[in-house]
Symmetry: C2
Subunit: 295 residues, 2 copies
């Protein structure tokens, strides 16, 4: 690593924490703002924070990896957000040769890596409010890059929400590079797809990885802008629908649709499967799973 990464790592990790704070504050405001629906009498949700820390041992775990660092889980079960998890983490260590060989820019001699990021999944009480996922991260091996994205999973699609979500992400992309949005939208569509169902997970959004344009500051700003775009558009979508009443049939359909989310995350999601295989924090990784599901 010829570049001095220390300052960059610090900046990125600080940003992920700031974004986490802003998102949690906004989501708690939404919890307070509910005025209608059958869930109004439930307690107003508040995030519970749970920090976790690796023991920082130099002994490889069962997967052969050495993982150090830690993170913080923020979990809220509320009356609008049936279950929402917002994780941040800053970890480093070395992956075993088995996992290292698939790692971009991994120094084959030691598999050393550093990673920080924020990861969010929200499952909503109201079937008329879409579920959502957002994640951005910075990774350093012998190279350093950003990755992430956000995608929307409505139970009942409607063009207005889809356009609002995509529009906000497109705007964030276009400020940086007109080629980003079409490329990252397509990547998202391809990534969040369930081949065994011939179904998309939802209506997409953007997905990007290995972003290292050569201008770290620009890439970092872009990653910040993705987070800000999410924060600008998703809460609006929630507020627009959260006070509408729903039917038992709509709830049923929501629970079935959530099954697809589970299938996707456990069968295909790289973060989930790679995280669990390398001995990552199970509670943090599986916080994405919905509160209630039917098959």
């Amino acid at each position: 690593m010829t570049e001095n990464w220390d300052d960059k790592k610090q900046q990125a990790a600080t940003w992920f924490q700031t974004l986490r704070n802003d998102i949690c504050a906004e989501f708690e405001k939404i919890e307070e703002a509910l005025t209608g629906t059958s869930k109004q009498d439930l307690p107003i949700g508040q995030f519970e924070r749970k920090p976790w820390q690796r023991d920082n041992s130099n002994e490889p775990n069962e997967s052969g990896s050495i993982l150090k660092g830690g993170g913080e889980i923020s979990l809220m079960r509320g009356r609008v957000f049936e279950k929402v998890g917002v994780n941040i983490s800053t970890v480093h260590g070395t992956f075993s040769p088995e996992f290292t060989k698939n790692m971009k820019g991994a120094d084959q001699s030691n598999g050393a890596f550093w990673a920080a990021g924020i990861s969010l999944v929200a499952h909503m009480q109201n079937p008329l409010v879409p579920a959502v996922h957002m994640n951005t991260r910075m990774i350093v091996t012998s190279e350093g890059w950003f990755g992430g994205g956000a995608d929307l999973t409505p139970m009942f699609e409607n063009d207005e929400d889809t356009q609002a979500f995509h529009g906000a992400l497109k705007k964030a992309c276009d400020t940086h590079d007109k080629a980003y949005y079409p490329k990252f939208k397509k990547w998202c569509d391809e990534y969040f797809y369930l081949p065994h169902r011939n179904e998309s997970r939802g209506v997409g959004g953007i997905f990007y990885d290995y972003l290292q344009s050569g201008d770290w500051d620009a890439d970092f700003t872009f990653t910040q802008d993705v987070g800000k775009a999410f924060l600008a558009c998703y809460p609006q979508i929630v507020r627009q629908h959260m006070n509408k009443e729903w039917s038992a049939e709509q709830r049923e359909q929501q629970l079935i649709k959530r099954g697809r989310y589970v299938e996707y995350n456990l069968l295909y999601d790289r973060g989930t499967t790679f995280g669990l295989k390398t001995g990552g924090n199970t509670e943090a990784i599986l916080m994405s799973l919905p509160p209630e599901v039917k098959w």
Copy 2:
């Protein structure tokens, strides 16, 4: 294939169908026999059968495999069995080189295989009744063998059920080879384990694979005996507990425990992950997923 497999394949496929019929008949009797609990007023469950057939095309599917043949899904949603699926199938074809290389006895030049089997998963209304899985199969590549097993997943362990289940399987094993039960029990414990949770899926049972002792008839009889042992012990366990009332807390714990079942099947179960990756019948494969789950 120097042996004449046609007759053996026919015998095995016929057995799996017979066993399916016997199990479904017994489970329907159990549905009728319920006398207590809050679910008694639900309609008495009956199996619905759904045959499926490959188009028998010689065109490889998206995974590069050619799959032919078909099967039958038997699904019941009742007042004792909240959701139980009993699948039989007889399929053949060729796997792509990617999948063939991990196949035992696969002729590397064409990856041809034949497989027949029965697969069963039962998720119960009553948290005091254990969930269960049973599967036996015959596979032919350039070799031919049997595999299968059965394992019990109580929500609340009790020694009596565990001993009854293991006792029946041990008896079936011991009739054939005293070495079978200890070996197949250990294999089961190792197989149905969730490393990311440091948890076993349940209290085990037996698991065996690649059984080709050199005496096909003996191996076939053993596989029949495993099915018969399952049919002799599991219904007894169900009948013993099904009329007991349960608490909301016990139901809650059941729904959480079922989440582990989902995690296991989608993350680790070879039949599920291999089946989905090679373009198997999604509906049949994912019938194992519980009717309702919480995380």
